[in-house]
Symmetry: C2
Subunit: 335 residues, 2 copies
C-alpha cells in the first residue's frame, strides 16, 4: 500500500475541506474533522479519513442536516438529552459532554441520551472525555443489521460497540472500545480492501457457512464475539441505544436509511459515574493496585495505552495515498 505523509493539521484541513465542499457549516465540519483527525493521530485508521467519503455521502444525499445546531437539555439532575437535529454526532457530543460531566459530579451518576444523530466514529472520544474529567465513562451505539444473534444466520444486531473508560489522574486513562461483533465492519472492510483474510468465526458468507474471506462476510453476516454471552451483550446494546432512549433498533435504522453508504440516523447511550462520590477519596490509588497486577503479568496490556503512545508520536501520519487523492478531488483541492 502506498502512503502519503500528512501533518495532523493537513489531515484536519483535508477532512474539513471535504465536509465544507459538501455543504457542512463551520461548526459541523469542524467537529467531524476534529474527530477524524484525532482518530488518525491515535492510529485508529478505520475511524480516520477512511470515513470521510461516508460522511460526505450523507451530506450530498441530503440525509444529514449540514447546519444542525444541537442544544443539550437537562431533563432531570441526572439525565441530559441531546437531539442532534439529524446532524453528524460529533458536534452534539462536543456540546453535551460537559453538562453530562457536571450532572455526574453532582449526582454521582448521570446519563446522556443522544438522539437523531448520525454516528460514524469510535466511542472512545466520548468516554475518554469523561475520564479526562475524573469520571468513569460507558457508551454504546447500535447501527444497521450486520450481526446474527448467536445460533442464527440472519443479521439482526448492529456491530453494537461498547466503550468503557477509567480515569487515572496523572496517567493515561484505561479505555476500551470494541464491537460486540467478532470484528468491526470497518476492520472487515479494510481487510477486504487490503486483501487480507480474517479468522474463522468472524462471520458467515451469503450461504450461511463460515468463511475467512472478508469480502464474503461483507455480503453475508458477522457473528457476535464470544458466542451466546457476546450475543446477549449485543442485544443489551440494541435495547439501551434504541427503545430505552427513544431511538431505533438496528433493523429499523436500516429501514429508515436511504442507503447512501454513510452513517444512518440512530441513538447513543452514555453513562458517566463519579468514583469520588461513590468510592471515596482513595478510589484512584485503589484502582492502581489492579493495574499494577496487570502490568506485572507477561503478555498483558492495559487497553488504551497504545493509542496514547501513538498520539504522542510526533505530528506526521501516513495515510493511504489512494484515499488522500480521492479526498483531495472531493474537496476540490486536488493538485
Amino acid at each position: 500500500m502506498n502512503t502519503t505523509e500528512l501533518t495532523l493539521d493537513q489531515i484536519y484541513q483535508l477532512a474539513f475541506d471535504c465536509l465544507s465542499a459538501a455543504g457542512a457549516n463551520q461548526d459541523n465540519a469542524d467537529a467531524v474533522a476534529n474527530t477524524v483527525m484525532r482518530a488518525e493521530q491515535d492510529g485508529s485508521i478505520s475511524h480516520g479519513l477512511f470515513r470521510i467519503p461516508g460522511y460526505v455521502a450523507t451530506l450530498k444525499s441530503g440525509k444529514v442536516n449540514p447546519n444542525a445546531d444541537p442544544q443539550p437539555e437537562q431533563v432531570t439532575p441526572a439525565l441530559v438529552r441531546c437531539n442532534a437535529q439529524n446532524g453528524h454526532a460529533p458536534l452534539a457530543l462536543a456540546r453535551s459532554i460537559e453538562m453530562l460531566a457536571q450532572s455526574a459530579k453532582t449526582c454521582g451518576i448521570a446519563a446522556l441520551n443522544l438522539t437523531h444523530s448520525h454516528h460514524f466514529a469510535a466511542l472512545w472520544p466520548e468516554t475518554e472525555a469523561l475520564a479526562e474529567r475524573g469520571l468513569v465513562g460507558f457508551a454504546c451505539v447500535s447501527y444497521m443489521p450486520a450481526v446474527a444473534p448467536a445460533g442464527g444466520s440472519e443479521a439482526l444486531f448492529g456491530t453494537n460497540p461498547i466503550s468503557f473508560a477509567w480515569p487515572r489522574p496523572g496517567k493515561v486513562p484505561l479505555v476500551f472500545d470494541m464491537a460486540t461483533a467478532s470484528m468491526a465492519v470497518g476492520e472487515v472492510k479494510i481487510a477486504a480492501r487490503d486483501g487480507h483474510k480474517v479468522p474463522l468465526g468472524t462471520g458467515l458468507g451469503p450461504d450461511g457457512e463460515p468463511t475467512d474471506d472478508p469480502k464474503e462476510i461483507l455480503k453475508g453476516v458477522l457473528l457476535p464475539f464470544g458466542g451466546y454471552k457476546g450475543s446477549a451483550i449485543s442485544m443489551m446494546v440494541e435495547l439501551m441505544a434504541g427503545p430505552m432512549i427513544g431511538e431505533t433498533l438496528s433493523f429499523e435504522t436500516k429501514e429508515n436509511d436511504n442507503a447512501d453508504g454513510g452513517p444512518p440516523q440512530g441513538g447513543e447511550f452514555i453513562l458517566a459515574i463519579s468514583p469520588e462520590i461513590m468510592g471515596g477519596s482513595d478510589w484512584a490509588e485503589h484502582a492502581e493496585k489492579l493495574f499494577e497486577k496487570l502490568e506485572a503479568m507477561e503478555g498483558i496490556r492495559i487497553p488504551g495505552q497504545r493509542r496514547h503512545k501513538l498520539r504522542n508520536s510526533g505530528n506526521i501520519r501516513s495515510v493511504n495515498s489512494e484515499l488522500v487523492q480521492q479526498l483531495r478531488t472531493m474537496s476540490g483541492t486536488a493538485e
Copy 2:
C-alpha cells in the same frame, strides 16, 4: 443421581432451619432462605440449596454477621448506598431495591452501591426485581480470583457475573445473568461433582495447560468468555464492583477472606433506568419489535423465559438426595 422431591415451602424451611441453627437471626435467615428457594424454583440449582453449606460455613466461622441490620441511605437523588454490615447480601438487597427504584423513577437513572456484603447468589433476583417495577436493571459483582486475564495464566479476576433485565409489561421480563468467565465456578463444581467434562477453552489446569477436566480447572484457573473482549468486560466489573464503589478487588477480597469456603466480603454495583423517562411512553411496545424478530428466528430464545417457565411448573422440585440429607443433619432436623 438420586433426588428427593421437596415442596417450595420445604425447600425454604430447610434453608431457613440450617441458617437459624448456625445463628442467623429471623430477618437474615428469611432473606437468604427466600433467595435460595427462588433459585430452586427457577431451576437454577447451582444457586439453590447447593449454596447452603457455604452460607452456613460463614456463620459458623464468625465471618458473617448473623444479626446484620442494613439501612439503605439516599446519598444523592440518583444514588443509594447500603452498607450490608457484613451480613449476607439478600437482606440488604431486599431493603434497598425499592429506594433504588424510586430514585430511578425520579431521576431517570440511579445506582445502588452495596458494600460490606457477602454475596453468594445469582444476580437476577435484583435485576428482575427492577424489571418487575418497569425499570431496566443491570448488576455486577466481583468475587475471588478464579479467572486469568486473556493472555495470562494466573488468576486475577473473579468470575465477575453481570446481569441485565428488560421489563416487558404483562409479560415475562427479558433477563440474562452470566459469568464473564467462560463458565461459573458453581457450574464447574457441579460438573466436577457429577463427573462431567467441560468444553476445552473453559480453563487451564494447575500446569497452565488447557483441559476439559473440571477438577483440574478448579485447581488451576478459568478463562474469560470471548477472549480479549470478554476479558475487558471482566476487568470493567472488577473496577465497577470494586474501587468505583469503595469495595475490594477480587485479589484483595481473597487476601481478606478466612477461607471458610463461604462467600467473602465484597461489593455490588446495581443500575436502574426508567425507559419511560428516557424513551417516552411507547418504549415497551417499541422493544417488542426486537423480541418479535428474535422469536421468529429458528433456534433463538429470549433469555430468562426458561426460568420463568420452570417457576410456574408447580410446587415440587427434585433436589440431590445426598445434599438434602446433609442439610437435614446440619439443621438438626434429620430423621
